[in-house]
């Protein structure tokens, strides 16, 4: 964990309201891992007041760069989207935990929904470096929210749209069900990041098909470092809550108290 200023290197619009930002990340800093995040102070004024959390979507150790994908949807991200190359980001990170990478040869499925794409791309690249084979499923509401295909590099994702405007017509979980008639995914490993209903559906799919399931969660945060107890999620074990910023972002879906 470091508190540092970092220069923006490239800025790319991926789709309607989605941006990819690459910034300097010295290899002397702690190495970011898939599922980990950092916080940015986007304004020197008190609006917005709090730092904003973003998940790493890549770390290039040779190039000393890191990236993240964000969606422009509020004051903070609007200010971020207005920043330019060479400007500096005020960053604390890396924060949180990472995905547990399966050691067996069971099928691995990565499921990304919407802005959850960033950390899943990072995980996919990391798995590829370890010569792991996996399927990558990406879901979006509609075609306009699907980023340019070059973001996926050689990952070759299955695209799903809720409205059927591109790829598989239906949710990511509808797709998983559609290919699992013969149980090829059973006893495999599901790893997911995206909207809460999607993660819950992943959890239920995992229970029905005896796959393991890890989910990276999102929650409103104040401190980002485990001090304020604000970003909790309900869990089954005592004391009944876990901090997304500290015990997460990645949880075994069986530990979460889904409601």
């Amino acid at each position: 964990m470091v508190y540092t200023k970092s220069e923006i290197l490239t800025f790319q619009k991926l789709s309607k309201n989605f941006y990819l930002l690459k910034f300097k990340w010295s290899s002397e800093n702690d190495t970011p891992l898939p599922g980990q995040f950092f916080t940015i102070r986007v304004s020197d004024t008190t609006v917005p007041l709090l730092r904003r959390p973003f998940a790493f979507s890549n770390f290039d150790i040779t190039g000393n760069t890191a990236s993240f994908i964000f969606e422009k949807k509020g004051v903070g991200t609007e200010m971020l989207a207005a920043m330019g190359v060479n400007e500096e980001l005020d960053i604390i990170g890396p924060l949180g935990n990472t995905f547990f990478q399966p050691q067996d040869d069971r099928p691995i499925i990565l499921v990304a929904g919407g802005i959850g794409l960033g950390p899943m791309l990072f995980l996919a690249e990391t798995l590829q470096r370890g010569n792991k084979v996996f399927n990558f499923v990406f879901g979006a509401k509609s075609k306009t929210l699907i980023p340019n295909q070059n973001i996926f590099k050689n990952i070759n994702p299955v695209i799903c749209t809720d409205d059927g405007s591109d790829g598989f017509s239906g949710t990511t979980i509808d797709y998983l069900k559609s290919i699992n008639d013969d149980g090829i995914l059973n006893s495999g490993h599901l790893m997911a990041c995206g909207p809460l209903p999607m993660l819950k559906a992943c959890h239920e799919f995992a229970l029905e098909n005896s796959t393991s399931c890890q989910v990276s969660l999102e929650q409103t945060m104040a401190c980002g470092v485990g001090a304020c107890m604000g970003c909790v999620v309900k869990i089954k074990q005592e004391p009944g809550f876990a901090r997304v910023c500290k015990e997460g972002t990645v949880f075994n879906s069986k530990d979460i108290l889904w409601t």
């Binding site: 964990m1 470091v2 508190y3 102070r41 008190t46 609006v47 917005p48 007041l49 709090l50 730092r51 604390i92 929650q219 409103t220 945060m221 104040a222 401190c223 980002g224 470092v225 485990g226 001090a227 304020c228 107890m229 604000g230 970003c231 909790v232 999620v233 309900k234 005592e238 004391p239 009944g240 809550f241």
Partner: protein
């Protein structure tokens, strides 16, 4: 220049503190900051038994503010002693546990368990949390209750006793006076203001608990006014807080009569804020040819 601050029979090395609930148990910020600028760490509230805290969502940002309803989530006094104190005692800052309870006896039990620890500077008694049902807030709004609670705590400890007041009362100076009469060594003010944000789409409060406590720069003028009022009402030192984001904000509290300050929500925005504020306050004192915080009080023209 000597910016040390006397609280009861003890002395804080400098007047900058980090407020309860915004700094965990210190270790959360270990890798990010230099603790030497922090005169005092007021810990996350400590209760007799562990508390899971309130349902989520617990926080929402407001214009220049933060509304929270954590519900005193903490590990409980026994784990505080075994798991949290060993790290805290390695720091140069004064360690001041913030103590909360649902009954008077809970406050007494916590103080009794902690009082033999030499590394504890003193106690901040939280009689003002807006986020616990029953108990805490009721104590903080009733002057007789405040006086007797303070008296009974006074009998239990020689260490500095700081009573933390809620702004959610008709006249904060009455409560401050009651704490002073009960034998408090200092007053800290203010805790958060009760607030609510409503989601007009699902037509419910955003926070699961309904209401929460409002902090951050949005409440600062309220905090300065209340600190000023309390300083006029009592002769014991007052520790001011509420939306301090920089040295200029901190200086307002000192000019209003505060002997020390606490930084709360500002820690979330900039973990190095204490260092910057201490430096800024020192520079101001140099420019104003002032050597102590007491002399700063004297600069205020009313």
């Amino acid at each position: 220049m000597d910016l040390s601050v006397k609280i009861g029979k003890s002395t804080l090395a400098n007047p900058i503190g980090v407020a309860s609930g915004t700094f965990g148990y210190g270790s959360e910020y270990e890798k990010l900051i230099d603790f030497s600028s922090i005169g005092a760490i007021y810990t996350k509230a400590v209760t007799l038994h562990p508390r899971a805290g309130n349902d989520m969502p617990r926080i929402i940002e407001t214009p220049s503010g933060l509304l929270n309803s954590i519900g005193l989530a903490n590990v409980g006094v026994d784990k505080f002693i075994t798991d949290k104190l060993p790290f805290l005692r390695t720091l140069p800052s004064a360690i001041i546990p913030n103590i909360a309870g649902a009954t008077e006896d809970e406050y007494y039990s916590v103080v009794k368990k902690l009082d033999s620890s030499n590394e504890i500077f003193g106690y901040e008694i939280n009689i003002s949390c807006p986020n616990v049902k029953k108990g805490a807030l009721a104590f903080g709004t009733d002057p007789e209750m405040v006086e007797s609670l303070t008296e009974n705590l006074r009998a239990l400890t020689e260490k500095p006793l700081i009573i933390k007041l809620t702004p959610n009362v008709t006249d904060i100076s009455v409560i401050a006076k009651a704490a002073e009469n009960g034998g408090a060594d200092a007053i800290s003010c203010i805790n958060t203001l009760i607030g609510m944000v409503i989601d007009i789409n699902n037509k419910r409060p955003v926070l699961a608990a309904g209401t929460g406590g409002l902090s951050g720069p949005g409440i600062r003028p309220v905090a300065v006014a209340m600190t000023f009022k309390v300083c006029k009402a009592v002769d014991i030192p007052v520790i001011g807080m509420g939306g301090i984001m920089n040295d200029e904000d901190a200086l307002q509290f000192f000019l209003a009569g505060a002997s020390a300050i606490q930084i709360g929500t500002g820690n979330f925005v900039d973990p190095l804020i204490s260092n910057k504020i201490l430096e800024g306050v020192q520079n101001y004192c140099k420019e104003e040819r002032v050597n102590t915080i007491l002399e700063l009080h004297g600069l205020f023209l009313s």
